[in-house]
Amino acid sequence: MMTNVLVNAKDVTKTYQTAKVEAKALRGLTLEINESDFMAIVGPSGSGKTTFLNLVGALDTATDGSLNVLGRDISAMSKRQRADLRLHKLGFVFQAYNLVPVLTAQENVEFVLELQGIGDNRFNRAREILDKLGLAEFANRRPNELSGGQQQRVAIARAVASNPKLVLAAEPTANLDGENAEVLLQMMRDLNENQNITFVFSTHDPRVVAHAKRVVTLVDGRISKDETKSQTKSSL
């Protein structure tokens, strides 16, 4: 079966320039992310995981090399076009949940739909997403009335509200206990399998790695390993 390539990175470098120091976060990284991947990017701190997610998420642009996300060359896109890409095709999940604290769970999900220009129907659509993810009972609660696990589940609901092709998650389980992390990973796995949403995580968490179908290891801004689970299993 032919698989669609969602992200195609070739020789991508990213250098952060400060007044005195030049820091190379990515050094000629080449990687393809395919449709339906459930991929963990692991590596020590400073290995370039977050930088890579920021580039794929069109939050930043590469210093060199080419990066195509969903067929679009990120470095050739304007700030506005990148915002549009994020709004319509990408979803984000953050380590610290980052829900808008003054909005309820329902409104946090609705916000993305409103930004997409969905008018009258957005309330029902947001409620539908929360229902599907088993979050209906939390719909009218604000983030400070939810546990960490519940907040992160709402964050996933927000991330998938726009029907994205690709969800990027930065350390999504880092602040969660074992039980909550398991619930969350199962939820993402279901979305991956049932709705064909591609997930890419940056993580240190072995629980995430255990759920991932593919694990890419970065060291010093380069890929040191790229393994799919079947290969990993067979090699073991």
Partner: protein, 412 residues
């Protein structure tokens, strides 16, 4: 109406930092209220000065012989003052029009003399447009009886005369020869201003014609219902009256008063501007702090696809809400104070030690009353909204420029 999520976010962000929002609103309200008070006072003062000038004999405008503009001679007379008066009176916006004929004379009683500008008037209309003519303190005002006069209290004191005494009037006639007449005092005018009372000598218009052998009126003085329309009225009348006449406004007749009013207006604008700049900077600072505090929140919103324009919209909406509430607080502060100044006023009597004050032959009431009206409401909203919306723009622009990757990198 259901609020959009963006607007709910903006509203709740204001509520989230309640104390800062309250302080901002109080700042806007007090600044706005102060401006309303000042503007009400200066508007009232300007109206009062204009009314005082107009009703002290100058009128809102005068119709004079065309040549008067060049020579300012009192001996000039209108071509056909009856016809011109009819024409002026036919204009809807004109409240009253009255003729005058002026002549410099010497008044004598016994061995005492006083020089004064005698003004020939129509007693039927003069009192309606001249507050000096309403300030008779002894006797009565002119009633049309020939050979009678009313004079100011200072002249009466100087000449040591009283009602029913006869004054000897001497002047130069039209032919240059000396002319004279006896005038019986029927009333003494006391305005409260000694300076002004030293300039008043009014007689019947016909008496001036007879004494000077110059027939007719030298000018027609008119009051209008709405001074804001003065320019239009003057323009239209100038066209109707034709070349032999000239229409001059109170500003042209009393340029020192007009420039004084302009100076007052400029100072008020400057002060209002300074107050609003202080409010503007205060709000901008508070809004910028709010943006810096929400830097990460904005970065997240930007990451999920919110464009800079939407962020600006949210910040401006917050400014709009602050402005609306600030305007209401401003009205709560400004309306009672403007009402107080419009009804009680500021009494300068003690400062000047008299009830009335005259400047340039204008009788000014020393209780300065402010202006009050519905105009305060739109003005409050205009001031508050302009200040808050403008002061939101820089923080909004700053918010829109936040680099989401950099702001989120802090988290990692």
């Amino acid at each position: 109406m259901m609020l959009s999520v963006s607007n709910k976010y903006a509203m709740r962000s204001l509520v989230r930092h309640g104390r800062r929002t309250i302080l901002s609103v109080v700042g806007i309200g007090v600044g706005c209220g102060l401006c309303l008070f000042m503007i009400a006072f200066v508007r009232g003062e300007s109206k009062m000065m204009l009314r005082a000038a107009a009703e002290s004999g100058a009128g809102h405008f005068r119709v004079v012989p065309a040549k008067w503009n060049e020579t300012r001679e009192n001996d000039l007379r209108l071509i056909d003052w009856h016809q011109a008066r009819k024409l002026v009176a036919s204009v809807d916006e004109v409240e009253v029009v009255t003729p005058h004929a002026r002549k410099e004379v010497l008044l004598g009683f016994g061995t005492r003399v006083a020089g004064v500008e005698m003004v020939g008037v129509d007693p039927n209309t003069e009192q309606t447009c001249n507050r000096l003519a309403r300030s008779v303190v002894e006797g009565h005002y002119l009633d049309g009886e020939k050979g009678t006069t009313v004079i100011g209290k200072t002249i009466a004191t100087r000449l040591k005369v009283e009602v029913d005494d006869e004054l000897m009037l001497t002047t130069a006639g039209a032919d240059g020869e000396m002319a004279g007449a006896m005038l019986r005092i029927v009333g003494i005018i006391g305005t409260g201003s000694r300076d002004l009372d030293a300039t008043i000598c009014q007689v019947n218009l016909q008496d001036v014609e007879q004494i000077t052998h110059l027939s007719g009126a030298g000018d027609l003085t008119a009051l209008v219902k709405n001074p804001k329309k003065l320019e239009l009225i003057v323009k239209s009348l100038s066209a109707k009256l034709g070349t032999g006449y000239s229409v001059v406004t109170w500003e042209q007749l009393m340029p020192e008063l007009a420039s004084g009013a302009k100076v007052d207006e400029t100072w008020t604008r400057l002060t209002v501007g300074i107050i609003m700049i202080v409010v503007f900077l205060g709000i901008a600072s508070a809004q910028l702090t709010a943006v810096l505090e929400r830097r990460k929140e904005f970065a997240v919103l930007s990451a999920v696809g919110m464009k800079g324009s939407r962020l600006i919209q949210i910040m401006v909406y917050e400014g709009l809400v602050l402005g609306l509430v600030g305007a209401i607080v401003g009205l709560a502060v400004g309306v009672p104070s403007a009402y107080w100044i419009a009804t009680k006023g500021i009494d300068f009597t003690k400062m000047y030690g008299t009830d009335d004050m005259s400047v340039s032959n204008i009788l000014i009431d020393l209780v300065f009353l402010g202006d009050f009206g519905w105009w305060l409401v739109p003005l409050a909203f205009a001031l508050a909204l302009t200040a808050t919306i403008l002061s939101s723009l820089y923080p909004a622009w700053y918010a829109a420029k936040i680099d989401p990757a950099a702001a989120l990198r802090v988290e990692h």
